[in-house]
Amino acid sequence: MAEMDKLKAIRDHEIAHREFFKSVLGADRLKDLTPNFSAVNFGSKTSVLNIARTFEDLGVAAYNGAGRFLTQDANLTLAGKIVSVEARHAAMIRDMIVQNSFASRMPMSGMGIDVPPAVLTTPGKDGFDMAMTPDEVPALAAPFITETITNNIR
């Protein structure tokens, strides 16, 4: 599949996810957000793919860290079904940047997150994707969103 088609498909998946959450959350959902991509060089494939990877990695980490806050079994299952697609996106984009980096927890450059090198390269210690808390995630996404998001989890 051509690279542009892959990115379009990811876009469409994210739309499906967004609309799904809208329909499930109803009035409880966050208001629509205004993205701020001024830091991205859309004329550079590398820049675009790196930002895409960053967002996918952050998404996976967000879902993995949010699982513990879901109290209903059905919601946990649904979140699992969505995060696995985000992981597929992440793996695919990583391979587009560097072949065979599909499972690498590369540092998320530009977002202030560095996975310790020892964790990336030591056999047996790897094998775990990241998990981040609902406080950490909005802070990391903040540079790319005009509005301020805070979590309401108590």
């Binding site: 499906a16 993995n64 513990r68 946990l76 696995s84 599909f102």
Partner: protein, 326 residues
């Protein structure tokens, strides 16, 4: 209150606590190291594990039993995968690039097995338990999916053909993904173990993704997966809508276009192709062939039933033809 004050106060109520639980600083430190290797950071988990070991058997709650059972299942699954990758790495059929991918995934699965063993021990199992063949029947990996020559092979060319082998590995990863998704809810009562399982699950999905790419398939589930084709038979089985299995049970995926009881049209998905509803900012249709899919896994299978694909890829070495043992 320090950890040792806690034990001392417990000792006032239970004179045998110091016999039941090794409270020497060395053993507590060991638990902390195990925790780091397991990828978990909660002291509460280890304290719970220490106390659970002390009081296991009599006072174990239903919720804790469910967690232990699920982690045992995951442990068996990861060991089976590790066995398949060990077998694959010994083959001479892989290109340099695919061999490198094998090594990456092997290291991950090795980490998963170690982490789940550590988790089981912190949930109360002993080294003797982990080595107990009644509790964890030994399995021999079989890439051809013949349950070590006791059944018709799923993929007879797995040992001689690189893509055939990769299709089996891909199926194993997809199978594992369904297993984690289907059983995650049983870990709800232990948030740290749940999180660790989620962190493993997303990596398994990354593995499946890479093998799909290598096989020239779409990286996400789609209708075409279900068509038996060269080098995609095993992954397709993982999501088969229909088909018979040796125990008469099927594990079909639900319709992708329906999620949480809501029809896909509600959130802009049609069954076979991209269709974005008018009114969204991207209100146009793409051509057929680019299907939008949410993950095709349904609630997966219950932990108490061994998935038919898995049972053929990792069979007990003592299995007799026509009868499964263990």
């Amino acid at each position: 209150m320090t950890l040792f004050h806690l034990f001392d106060s417990l000792a006032q109520h239970d004179a045998d606590i110091h016999d039941r639980v090794s409270t020497r600083r060395a053993s507590i430190k060991h638990l902390s190291d195990v925790g780091r290797k397991a990828g978990m950071t909660s002291l509460a988990l280890f304290l719970g594990g220490v106390l659970q070991q002390a009081y296991a058997g009599g006072n174990r709650t239903t919720a804790v039993s469910a967690v232990v059972d699920t982690v045992k299942f995951a442990y068996q699954l990861e060991k089976a995968e590790l066995g398949l990758y060990t077998q694959a790495r010994a083959l001479g059929t892989f290109s340099a690039a695919n061999r490198a991918a094998l090594d990456v995934i092997f290291a991950n699965e090795d980490g998963h097995v170690a982490a789940l063993a550590a988790t089981l021990k912190n949930l109360g199992l002993s080294d003797a338990d982990l080595a107990n063949p009644m509790m964890f029947p030994p399995r021999t990996a079989d890439l051809t999916g013949s349950a070590n020559a006791t059944m018709t092979p799923l993929e007879p060319n797995a040992l001689t053909d690189e893509m055939a082998c990769i299709s089996v590995l891909c199926g194993s990863e997809e199978n594992g993904g369904r297993a984690y998704r289907g059983n995650a809810y049983t870990l709800k009562s232990n948030p740290d173990v749940l999180q660790a399982a989620l962190q493993i699950h997303s990596v398994e999905t990354c593995h499946a993704t890479h093998w799909r790419e290598v096989l020239g398939r779409m990286v996400w589930i789609q209708t075409g997966d279900l068509t038996q084709a060269p080098n995609f038979k095993v992954p397709a089985m993982v999501y088969a809508k229909t088909g018979t299995t040796t125990n008469g049970l099927e594990y079909p995926n639900e319709s992708n276009a329906t999620q949480a009881g809501k029809a896909g049209s509600v959130f802009g998905v049609s069954a076979d192709r991209v269709a974005v509803r008018r009114g969204s900012r991207h209100g146009r249709r793409d051509g057929a062939g680019a299907a939008v899919r949410l993950q095709a896994a349904d609630v997966g299978f219950r932990r108490s039933v061994s998935p038919p694909v898995l049972s053929r890829l990792a069979a007990s070495p003592s299995a007799r033809k026509g009868r499964r043992v263990g």
